[in-house]
């Protein structure tokens, strides 16, 4: 944050900045969690090889 000149969102207040970054991170966590950790069978089966290949706990 001390490098404001090269930060992505220019002219954003620091509070709004934190909110937007937190939302982006949460979205990422949700996506990874859904594909990698869902207990729904169809989701598990579709991403089965991926889960094993990323060493997510599977089965």
């Amino acid at each position: 944050m001390n490098t404001a000149s090269v930060s992505l969102g220019t002219s954003v207040s620091s509070q709004s900045r934190i909110m937007q970054l937190a939302m982006a991170a949460l979205l990422g966590i949700f996506v990874v969690g859904f594909v990698g950790f869902s207990h729904v069978d169809a989701v598990h089966n579709a991403a089965h090889d991926y889960r094993h290949s990323m060493a997510f706990p599977c089965h």
Binding site: M1, N2, T3, S5, V6, S7, L8, G9, T10, V12, S16, R17, I18, Q20, L21, A22, M23, A24, A25, L27, G28, I29, F30, V31, V32, V35, G36, F37, H39, D41, A42, H44, N45, A46, A47, H48, D49, Y50, H52, S53, M54, A55, F56, P57, C58, H59
Partner: protein, 264 residues
């Protein structure tokens, strides 16, 4: 929502590139080993679940290996595993299965990229590809190395503890390692650095949930090969992800910040 939009845009490009790269590596390095393990699972998994004996011996019959893979690794005794054998829809072997794997790689690649970009923005952002490589190494340490110490990559049919406790341990370990690395990298304080080491080590002292027995039909050599393949493909994935974020973000900000200027 200017910043949010930019973060999503960068993450989408980086996740797409790194996800495609990872899917290609998996097609040669890890998925063939998974398919091999499923053959062992069908041939010798009779003691683990009662379906193995009744299915026909053609390991390549469509969708059957995938179906079986779902049912086996639960260490539960056969009598408890028996009622819940309906595993629902699964992609057919061959192209469909490959295609779904590519989609899973891209979607989660974008997910990991969102986390990487958002967290790195708090620390000033990834200025170029070289900084990105270091951030990628951190992501590899957090998401692959640390949880992999307690829960090594597993093949279908390998014994494992209950799923939920393992998932909880995995997520806790990732969180503790990420906070620990963050404290070391961005807080110049000895007590915090010591706390960081404690955070990184603690999950392994608690210990990951382990199966009651490690007995398996999977050959040791096949599993070892799989652990190496998973670790290396994940390493390359994270390095590519970080580097692409650095390159794309550099285009965005239009300035190539010097390494000394903004890294740690």
């Amino acid at each position: 929502m200017n910043l949010f939009r930019n973060v999503v845009f960068i993450a989408a490009i980086a996740g797409l590139v790194a996800g495609v790269v990872l899917a290609c590596m998996q097609a040669y390095a890890t998925v063939p080993l998974i398919l091999k393990a499923e053959v062992y699972e069908k041939a010798g998994g009779g003691h683990q679940h009662d379906h193995a004996a009744s299915t026909n011996s053609n390991a390549m019959s469509s969708a059957a290996p995938a179906d079986n893979a779902m049912t086996s690794a639960a260490p539960a005794p056969a009598e408890t595993a028996a009622p819940a054998e309906d595993e629902g829809w699964a992609p057919a072997d061959g192209f469909e299965r490959f295609a779904f794997n590519v989609v899973a790689n891209i979607v989660t690649g974008i997910g990991f990229a969102l986390i990487l970009v958002a967290v790195s923005e708090f620390a000033g952002g990834i200025g170029n590809w070289r900084q990105g490589v270091f951030w990628g190494l951190a992501g590899f340490a957090v998401f692959t190395l640390a949880p992999g110490l307690g829960l090594p990559p597993e093949l279908p049919a390998m014994p494992a503890a209950e799923l939920l406790p393992r998932q909880i341990w995995w997520i806790s370990t990732v969180a503790a390692t990420a906070i620990g690395l963050g404290l070391i990298a961005f807080r110049k304080s000895l007590p915090l650095a010591i706390l960081a080491v404690v955070l990184i080590v603690a999950p392994h002292i608690v210990g990951a949930p382990q199966p009651e027995s490690f007995e398996t039909t999977i050959p040791e050599g096949l599993h070892h090969q799989f652990v190496v393949a998973v670790t290396l493909t994940d390493l390359v994935f994270w390095l590519v992800l970080g580097a692409v974020v650095g390159v794309v973000r550099g285009r965005f900000t239009g300035t190539a910040t010097s390494l000394r200027g903004s890294f740690a």
